[in-house]
Symmetry: C2
Subunit: 467 residues, 2 copies
């Protein structure tokens, strides 16, 4: 990281494309730029130009013409970082980008570390830490759901929720501290019952936020879905069908196609991560014998399990298979969906019978599909996204997607639990006050009200260059 | 290609990075943008905003928040395409880029084909065809020399040179046509000797431009350098030394590293393409025997041949080896440089003797290096770039880098040759006039004064999207 007060620069776009952006930030940026940039309209003086102006001109170093560019100027504090800033929009030639950065460095500008622009924005109070982290998330977001979570966080909704909790705890803390000031007199200002109630309320909110991390993380990284079923039941055809249809949607725009992870795909605005279940070869009642560690683990990770069977199977066998999967996935809370394939092969009598018998045997959604005629695929997609949406009903208004926030929330919850235990066991107020202060501290860590320097460095190093 | 009068859009940056640019062009662009973009400062009305203004705000579709963006507005004709334009600078998330383009398409905007923005700029008279082609070259330029050629062409220098020749030929043509109008009277207005002189002058300029294509193409694609020498003479060490030192310079900036073509590197602002000479195993007088077709071809392509020998070799052998190489490369005009390696192993007496004897035996530059101590590497780099610079002295002020221009110049030269032959053989003026008109036509093809529609489509399809 460069020192405060220095000018930093970095390319904000990656290689390729037609246009590249080079960003500059720091006091004196525009004066430095004036040394290499000449507006085509010689009436314009960029030193005097207003913020938010856009100027066309050429970049040169002495006699060496480098490029025709568009320059955007920003005056402090009305910029992303809150500092004086400029953006150079040049041709995306590797040579041109390199040369522009070289001649900036010759003039004393320093190259920015990853995330350094956003870190300056945080340092200058343009955003809190949770919002700053959302910037990295929004850039990485590749599904509607991940984007929704990141943009809610970016716009400060999550921070406000945390700040509200923190203020409640702070006023609670001040009551407790007041008691301490008068401790010799053994006065209890605060009604212990009312206090307990407040702590329980806050703790339950914190716990629900922490619990949402599993879902938030799944949304960010892709909802894990295990496809299970005996061989030849149509697991691969099912995946291929889903893949083929979705592939067409993500074409054309650069950066949307994922390299080789064929099992990741978007369904209804959510990213799903389909998991190989080669280990789940055996179906029906033989599944218990397998008990393979790996399969256990995969089922425990799953948000959804697609239990694939055939329309010609007996209802009892299908229900038995589903029960085995439910046992194996334990208390992971994975939603199991019965996918009855090859509905084109079964007679309409068989299907009617299955539709009648299955609900009696197990309380799970069942979708009848045919990988051949592709019937039932729309319904499957609906049920699949609904399974996750239903999961979301238990979640609070805001969903935690960041491991750092999750850790902080867990710490808050533990501190509050100690407060509750303390009340119950009649622990001295001075010890309770320490736990309350800790809870307040950890909530502050999320929004960056309290943040050790080294944590900041760690957070911003995960950003991309130029942001 | 979209129809004239429509609005086109495309991402102008490629995947990755922190920021992405989406470009729009066409009448009604700003009104369309107003339907999805809301300035943060609600005093601002983008419909009324000036060109070259920069506005911060949010992009949404109905209730769906998509991103916080910076929008640049341009009013016709003061824009790249000459049309009303806008650029949206958003976060580089694949999802956000996809959504913004989707909602633009919903509002009737069409996605742009590669090069369509530049084609519109050409159609609207913002640049001629040779300048438009230089845009693609400047984006692709990855060395100082390629960048210099492309930027000279972009700024219209080359077009002016061609246009000057075309005007000279046009006035010449009008003289000839005048004779035709009075042909019954058998009047010769133009002095045949003066005319012949003019044609010879123009033809020699055209020929020099055409001849510069070999160099221009080499600069654009990398100067071909063959490294030849018997095994263990230090060919690989030499290449590695060059590679290692240059690698450090091209680090850091995205897009500058070439994937696996290890043999391409920059030396002194020029791109060199080092060519594998596995076929050239045998050295000295045995080289004639080899006569391998492939090796012949490679030597004929070369701009430079590095003939690597050892400081302990006899001067006669080194000179013989160089002569064989010269014969093999034929009249390709490749410059041969003697590289005497392992100067650390030879005694100072041997080196002094070689330095004295070699110039007597062959008139070639000789550089003494040591791949171990790296001595002589700076000198080699200088001699290597100088070999190409010397080649450039024969070239005209402008260097042709484009195969289409080269073809056109060849056609001009042939037409002019027919004019000269016609004068000599006393061919009727009407036939000579046809050849002159052809020469004028082909010069016009370069700058796009005369261009069939299908050639345009072909030219712009080689561009990247968003330009």
């Amino acid at each position: 990281m460069a020192q405060k007060g220095t000018i930093i620069c970095a390319p904000a776009t990656s290689g390729g494309g037609a246009i590249a952006l080079i960003r500059l930030s720091g006091p004196g940026t525009i004066e430095t730029l004036a040394g290499i940039f000449k507006p085509v309209d010689d009436q314009i003086d960029i030193i005097k130009a207003n913020g938010y102006s856009l100027i066309y001109g050429t970049i040169s170093s002495q006699d060496e013409f480098i490029d025709e560019v568009l320059v955007s100027l920003f005056r402090a504090p009305h910029s992303y970082t809150g500092e004086e800033m400029a953006e150079i929009s040049c041709h995306a030639s590797p040579f041109i980008q390199r040369r522009i950065i070289e001649i900036l460095i010759e003039r004393g500008v320093q190259t920015a570390s990853p995330g350094e622009f956003t870190m300056r924005a945080f340092m200058n109070g343009k955003m809190d830490l949770s919002q700053a982290e959302a910037v990295a998330d929004i850039i990485a977001s590749d599904s509607a759901a991940a984007h929704r979570l990141a943009s809610t966080q970016l716009r400060g909704g999550f921070s406000k929720e945390i700040e509200k909790l923190r203020m409640e705890l702070l006023s609670f803390a001040s009551l407790i501290e007041l008691e301490l000031d008068f401790s010799e007199e053994d006065v209890k200002f605060a009604d212990r019952f009312a206090l307990t109630e407040t702590v329980i309320k806050i703790k339950s909110l914190v716990d629900r936020l922490a619990a949402s991390f599993r879902l938030g993380n799944a949304i960010k990284k892709g909802m894990p879905v295990v496809i299970a079923g005996r061989p030849n039941v149509g697991k691969s055809s099912l995946l291929n069908l889903l893949l083929q249809e979705e592939r067409a949607i993500v074409s054309d725009i650069p950066g949307t196609t994922r390299d080789t992870v064929e099992e990741v795909l978007h369904v209804g605005g959510l990213l799903f991560r389909f998991i190989d279940t080669a280990g789940l070869r055996d179906a029906g009642d033989r599944i218990e014998e397998m008990g393979i560690e790996r399969t256990h683990g995969r089922l425990k990770e799953a948000e959804v399990v697609l239990a694939v069977a055939e329309a010609t199977d007996r209802a009892e066998d299908i229900a038995g298979f589903a029960r085995s999967l439910a046992e194996l996935s334990g208390d992971s809370g994975a939603k199991i969906i019965l996918v009855i394939n090859k509905s084109d092969l079964a007679g309409s009598g068989e299907i009617t019978r299955l539709k009648k018998e299955l609900p009696r045997l197990c309380d799970l959604p069942a979708v009848f599909i045919s990988a051949v005629t592709t019937s039932g695929m729309d319904e499957l997609r609906m049920v699949l996204t609904a399974a996750v949406e239903t999961g979301r009903l238990d979640a609070p208004q805001y969903i935690v997607t960041n491991a750092r926030h999750y850790e902080a929330l867990k710490n808050v919850s533990e501190s509050l639990q100690r407060v509750l235990d303390g009340f119950r066991d009649g622990i001295p107020t001075v010890l309770i006050a320490t736990d309350v202060r800790q809870a307040v501290y950890y909530l502050g860590v999320i929004t960056g009200k309290i943040t050790p320097e080294d944590i900041l460095g760690e957070i911003f190093s995960h950003f991309c260059i130029g942001k």
